[in-house]
Amino acid sequence: MATEEAVLPDIVRSRTFSVGARRRAGWAPAAVLFYVLTLALAVIFVFPFFWTVSSSLKQPFELFSFPPTMFPITPQWVNYATVLQKVPFLTWVLNSLIVVALNTGGVIVTSSLVAYSFARFEYRGRDVLFLITLGTMMLPSQVTLIPQFVLFNALGWINTLLPLWVPAWFGGGAFFIFLLRQFFLSLPNDLDEAAVIDGASFLQVYWSILMPLCKPALATVAIISFIGSWNDFLGPLIYLNSPDKFTVALGLNFFQNVPESAGMPMQHLLMAASVMAILPCLVLFFSFQRYFVEGIVLSGIKG
């Protein structure tokens, strides 16, 4: 446990995630070599996405023409509409959005309250509980999965979205508590002590002083939680049975296993569905990348 504690804070000990001009390399041969290497790696990382988008816009016969073509002859935007026709994709999106919103809401509200407690209050057992909290990050979910299923089954929650978001309202998970606690510790204590002396309640301090100050960290938490719950597969796989209850991730797998209609290839449709499944997280990440980076930077001010 003690060693674990020594290791864990490193995740947030860094001052900055954005790579500054610490050592701006010139155009020495070595620098060129490194640049070319990075560029080559970037191509390897981007190509599968390019191939997916390109395939999603092809006509069925183009899919299996040999050699495969880089770009579709004429982009078939209709493929995307066909996906929406063939499977209840919009219902899946709606289900995913419900889960993501309730999940992220729960994480933000309860993990910040718990982090506030760990960071600003003194009581017996606090440090032990905090160590236990850190320890749960190492616990593989497999061991709690079966009893949780039994519990939700007993509650009659199978084939509902409840098991996918209700647990988030109970502290939101160790990682988020840890992240926000580090952030709270980086804020000067005088601020909320002064407010308490002026007669503010602890909840007022939390809501009116601390929460506004940690917006960047909250944005980080929200983004990570959004991506995690949008992409979650095992949870929906275990708890949801009927296609009208599926989330996007589970629906995508379902779509893959739908028998091909009259032997027609459907790779282009699968790729179109994949693009639609990937898009929300990309848009979110690109719009809030600043907060994402900033939040992790700020939470690392004080290890």
């Binding site: 860094s14 407690s117 009581y123 749960t136 593989p140 299923f149 994949s274 990937i278």
Partner: protein, 322 residues
């Protein structure tokens, strides 16, 4: 005397027995301690309902015959006996999971470190490169599995096309039982190298003091000397952190295999997590599934313990006594 203490206890703001148990000495401290517990309440409940309770329950289930409903029937060690001696898929799936992890963890760590070092050079376009490397981490594993299944297509996939340009006849990849595991390893490496491990390495690299580097440079150290003798020791705690999380993540491999190959062909990618899932949620052998899960967790604990013990030999804590 009794009256006095009763008076103290009822006076507003005085310290009750409960508060004293919480370690408070003054009324403000008592109030803070009580609020502390109150704010902690959601997590305490969550810990009990969703973590500690289930851990105990699954330990109990592992000694029972249980289908998820009704009353579990106690059968002692029979589940464990079955796992070790009577389950044809147990040892192979375990071995396969190790085989996968033995490649994915070291190669993945090295890859993440290389990417982090490249991004830490401050070259132009670093932010774009970082985002590009991070893209797979933003993508649902299901979509990754689907798009790689398409890339690995034996006849019209771009990978085999590329191989044919250099005169190599590409294998059937995910559809070939001798190549499916390798194909999944390639997918996993691509999917995880630029993810959290890389970000954590970047953080670690930025914590390496500039002064050490400058001192080494004055002493005439080359690029590799500096990396080997300064950077590596300084980021060794980060390395340990990523190693531990990497091992746990690799041994848990599930979604990619479930979607891309369903564990096939002929069980070539039947990992341990798939085995647990199938036993517990396809056959509803919750007792046996719990036993498998416990074997898995004990194994992970041993691994983590071994790594932490060995870490004393190679991890350097700059600030600490450890």
């Amino acid at each position: 005397m009794a009256r006095a203490s009763a008076e103290v206890a009822t006076k507003p703001g005085s310290i009750s027995l409960v508060a004293r148990l919480a370690g408070a000495k003054t009324p403000l401290q008592a109030r803070k301690a009580l609020w502390g517990y109150l704010l902690l309440l959601p997590w305490l409940l969550g810990l009990i309902i969703f973590i500690v309770g289930p851990i105990i329950a699954s330990f109990y289930f592992s000694f029972t015959d249980y289908e998820g409903m009704g009353v579990p029937a106690w059968i002692g060690l029979a589940n464990y006996q079955k796992a070790f001696f009577g389950d044809d898929l147990f040892w192979p799936s375990l071995g396969r999971t190790f085989e996968y992890s033995l490649v994915v963890v070291p190669v993945g760590l090295l890859g993440s470190l290389v990417l982090a070092v490249l991004l830490n050079r401050g070259m132009k376009g670093t932010n774009i490169f970082r985002t590009v490397f991070f893209l797979p981490s933003l993508t649902p594993a299901v979509a990754l599995a689907l798009l790689w299944t398409w890339l690995f297509h034996p006849t019209v996939g771009p990978i085999n096309l590329g191989l044919s340009w250099v005169g190599v006849q590409g294998p059937g990849w995910l559809t070939d039982q001798h190549w499916a595991l390798s194909a999944l390893i390639i997918i996993s490496l691509w999917a995880s190298m630029g993810g959290n491990a890389m970000l954590i390495f970047i953080a670690g690299l930025q914590g390496v003091p500039e002064s050490l580097m400058d001192a080494a440079e004055i002493d005439g150290a080359g690029r590799w000397d500096k990396f080997r003798n300064i950077t590596l020791p300084m980021i060794s705690p980060t390395l340990l952190f990523n190693l531990i999380l990497g091992v746990i993540g690799a041994l848990k491999v599930f979604t990619i295999a479930f979607v891309a190959t369903q564990g096939g062909p002929s069980y070539a990618t039947w990992f341990f997590a798939l085995h647990i899932y199938q036993q517990a949620f396809s056959y509803f052998r919750m007792g046996y599934g719990s036993a498998l899960a416990w074997i898995f967790v004990i194994m992970l604990l041993i691994f983590t313990y071994v790594q932490l013990s060995f870490s004393r030999r190679w991890v350097y804590y700059a600030g600490g006594s450890d």
